[in-house]
Symmetry: C2
Subunit: 418 residues, 2 copies
């Protein structure tokens, strides 16, 4: 089989479908999303049947229980996918929004209008919900998607994609706006990443290995998120009770996600009192602490830290603690070891808060709140297709707006350039 | 010599300098730009002396007169570079601007603040003015630059970069925010394009060959502009006198630039009258016409067109003319053969104007005005570092805003995630 031709042909058809789809009004797009939600629920048995094949082969391959759990489609999860589609249908359509318009001295009106990007390639691992979630967001913003998932979830995702496509077909809409690359081998991905003529953007979702492989091989722009090494800096002017609640929330509320705190930085003036307070709370919660020598002197249970630990994303009940001289040292630590994802200061000092916000070079910079809020839903974007730690196009949680571009529109009445 | 180590070392130092520079307030950045303008004027003799070496070796190599002319530094051109620096100093600083801020139900304020991108790599051909112009814009937006020019202008650009660096040094600012890759060989560029850890964005400026080579080899995001195949569609409802003036302006006012019209599309109902009118004007201006069979029947002098001609960017007094059935065919032509740069409709019909604006998928879409307005200065951006025909990050003329990113800022008072 000619893999390059197979992938190229799919991409060409997706691009053609995107041209038609990008011009549709919201009403039609929303109707399609709502019907897709119904269809997923109606076909729940088919979906679970396809999913069983994936689960069985995963068990045969000896994949971890956690991975198999992520792979599983239950009635509850199918219900959540349908609900997700409905929620995206209810969001305002970003396409056609004129974000600004101004008049030039010659009377021309110049403005910026949101437009679909075109074709978005989603490359992801084994969570079947991504198929429905990512498709919903891309379609709502007038884009087409080319989906490529890990081989573990091939049957499940192919079944989901087929259901979504059949809804489009029934509505006489171009079904190739949802395109699924079924070939399980890696070459199909490599071919896909060469097609800059037909695919406008790649969003990889998964572990760091997958994402690096995509970036290394793509000629198409990639928006990515390698990892979240998030910090909370407890300033000398912090309300220590607030700092305790925020640090505890940032570490313990859900340690396995990218916006959980991995390193706590504490000003030396408040370190003796604060570490005593929070040490006890962390102990009760089973948090394992790794501390600098100063921390260790104050908090006996902290294990010694190696400098390389400061780069680590634990995604677990483990925490680095470092006592710092001042805010400059805290900012410098964040710049050196952080992943520019989300960093927060706890302080009552106005000038320090403002300087931290301005100077910390991260996708989300916070004052007096938990890093766990770094999330599209929590920010009020209504949805999230991922978090970008890039600086180009999208930075931080990405909602519908980040799935559009803006074009210039110019309304004249006969102006000529002289 | 270890080229990889040389380039890497330069990039690391640029990244370090960028961290310091990104935090500077506008006053300091503006002072540096104004002093750079003065220094270029003061060192005009040195500059012309260095430039002579480039010009002589270009003559020896037998480069075309046009290329040698672009390479030449005269007092006037040095004056223009200085003036460019002053104009950028006078523009508002985009850094720190909060573009939006909203309150969440829990009382958190969430907003977006403009921040520098970091390190921007500029890869360009032989125009020495790019060194000063691109540096000014990047520095104003708080970024550092790594400059790499074609070997033809090596001495000139190195001299300019050294003058800019000496100003930074005198002001005790990190001079590595202006870094110049002096190695003339291609390997240096290839090494540069691998350094995604230290360089955040690449902007290539030059011919299509250069840009394709950069895209093919870069792991760093690239913002680019391949070519400008711009259209004017003269609708059946056009004011034909206005259409004539606009089409003439779009083709003839400056044919050698990317926003000049390359193909004129004319509705069949007005084609007989309109082609007669404009045919005469184009003849007087020496415009060579290539027409579809319908055009040829109406306008004897039009040469037959080959379908491939519709993809061409002539950059010259040549024009394709096609008679179309209706606006749908015009839009479809633009989608198929255009470069998504700038396209304009001439019509008195409100509904058609609005539909053209919404449906044409180009960086600039215009009504009743000349494509020649597609330009950062004409749009009122105050400056232009290039035009993007990409959809990611920047589309159309790119000003200072496109040299920044936005980060999320979150101002809380103790909010926790539950």
């Amino acid at each position: 089989m000619d893999i390059a031709a197979y992938v190229r042909d799919k991409a060409i058809r997706t691009k053609e479908a995107a041209r038609v789809f990008g011009k549709l009004l919201s009403g039609v797009k929303n109707e399609a999303l709502l019907k897709m939600a119904e269809a997923l629920l109606a076909e729940a048995e088919t979906l679970k049947h396809s999913n069983e094949k994936d689960v069985k082969s995963a068990e045969k391959k000896g994949l971890s229980a956690a991975m198999i759990d992520r792979l599983k489609l239950t009635d509850r999860r199918i219900g959540e996918m349908a609900q997700g589609l409905r929620e995206v249908a209810a969001l305002p359509d970003p396409v056609g929004e004129i974000t600004r318009m101004w008049q030039r001295p010659n009377g021309m009106q110049v403005g910026r209008m949101r437009a679909p990007i075109g074709v978005i390639g989603i490359i992801y691992e084994s969570r079947p919900n991504v198929t429905a979630d990512a498709t919903a967001l891309c379609l709502k913003a007038g884009n087409a998607v080319i989906l490529r998932c890990g081989s573990e979830a091939l049957h499940s995702n192919s079944a989901i994609a087929n259901i979504l496509r059949s809804v489009l077909k029934d509505m006489d809409l171009p079904q190739d706006v949802v395109t699924y690359i079924e070939l399980p081998n890696r070459d199909a991905v490599l071919e896909m990443l060469k097609l800059e003529e037909y695919i406008d953007l790649i969003i990889p979702r998964g572990g760091e290995g997958l994402i690096r492989a995509v970036v290394d091989n793509s000629k198409i722009p990639v928006i990515k998120h390698y990892k979240g090494v998030c910090h909370v800096y407890v300033d000398e002017e912090a309300d220590l009770d607030m700092a305790l609640a925020i640090c505890f929330n940032a570490k313990v509320q859900r340690p396995g996600v990218c916006n959980a705190m991995e390193t706590m930085l504490v000003h030396e003036k408040v370190a003796p009192a604060f570490l005593l307070m929070i040490g006890e709370k962390f102990r009760q919660a089973g948090v394992e602490l790794f501390g600098c020598s100063h921390t260790q002197a104050l908090l006996g249970e902290a294990k010694p830290i190696d400098e390389n630990d400061f780069y680590k994303e634990y995604l677990d009940l483990r925490l680095n603690v470092r006592v710092v001289r001042d805010m400059d040292q805290a900012i410098s630590h964040i710049e050196t070891y952080g992943s520019h994802h989300t960093d927060s200061i706890v302080t009552k000092d106005y000038a320090k808060a403002m300087r931290f916000v301005r100077e910390v070079d991260s996708a989300s910079v916070m004052v007096n709140t938990s890093t766990r809020f770094s999330d599209g839903f929590q920010y009020g974007l209504g949805a999230e297709i991922g978090i970008s730690t890039d600086k180009i196009h999208a930075r931080g949680p990405m909602g519908l707006e980040e799935l559009t571009c803006t074009k210039f529109i110019v309304l004249g009445n006969g102006q000529l350039r002289t």
